[in-house]
Symmetry: C2
DNA sequence: TCCTACATTGGACAATGTCTAAGTCAAGAA
DNA sequence: TTCTTGACTTAGACATTGTCCAATGTAGGA
């Protein structure tokens, strides 16, 4: 994740304690925190960090393409640091757990030209839903 | 859409003016209103209808499988009456316009067994994003 | 027509996100 | 090192979207 901080500094990012902490919280490949969760975890290391800064920083990371914004349920958006490897998401309908998954083929090619209605289609997100092993286990 | 009202009455739905109006607003195959838009349009015909009733009714229609809930942007959910024909969505990244589209093949089959991690996968939503003809036209 | 269980209402409340004005500080300049 | 400055952070008000509840109204069966 320190590569990330390097990359960002190379782009003129001013390196502050707050931004460093947010980046550290997002470290890891299979993390899908909400902004509030990021704020809670960042607060453990830097108690005075504000919500606004967390929102700002997450927004900047998304603009810079370092983090993906995922909204699986119409509730809080989640932030996915695994932005440099193409992947999709598998969500448990019961507990909301999210896993990164990899599909066969390019989902973009499944949309025929006449079904594009003149759009310049550039992106596709696929979300699978189901019940995870934990939730489907007999209680 | 009156088939819808019939179907619902058959399931024990009490038929009120409010519910009728909400159903009428959703009439049509390519409509993707937010709850507030549904409320605004319903209010034109039945000025005293409350927000709570619109939310309740939309929630019921979703539970009954008559309407789909679509959240394309992490903002307000949208309601799609085209629930009985399998389809996906194409969204304009600029103006937010939504079109129903049909893909080739079954997106579910693109997720290999080992990528399912023991989930009982039952649903998949595919959202294409791009710039619509209107937004890409030279101004 | 009358009853009553179900539906509706208005408004308070909750969750998530955005904005602003004032204070703070990282990093280059001297 | 110290200074300077524009970018960053903060607290809290505000906005949007959605949920909940107690009081009131009413659809549809008896």
């Amino acid at each position: 994740m320190s590569d990330l901080l390097e990359r960002l500094r190379g782009r003129g990012w001013r390196l502050t304690a707050q931004r460093r902490v947010v980046a550290e919280v997002l470290d890891g490949d299979h993390v899908h925190y909400t902004a509030d969760e990021v704020h809670a975890r960042a607060s453990e290391r830097l108690p005075e960090i504000s919500r606004a800064t967390v929102y700002n920083t997450l927004g900047e990371l998304v603009s810079l393409g370092e983090v993906l914004e995922v909204s699986t349920d119409g509730r809080a958006k989640r932030y996915d640091p695994n932005a440099h490897h193409d992947h999709q998401h598998l969500v448990c309908s019961r507990c909301g757990t999210i896993r990164d998954v990899h599909v066969q083929g390019d989902p973009l090619s499944a949309l025929p030209e006449p079904e594009r209605y003149g759009f310049q289609v550039s992106e596709v997100t696929v979300t699978y839903r189901g019940i995870c092993p934990t939730c489907s286990a007999p209680s």
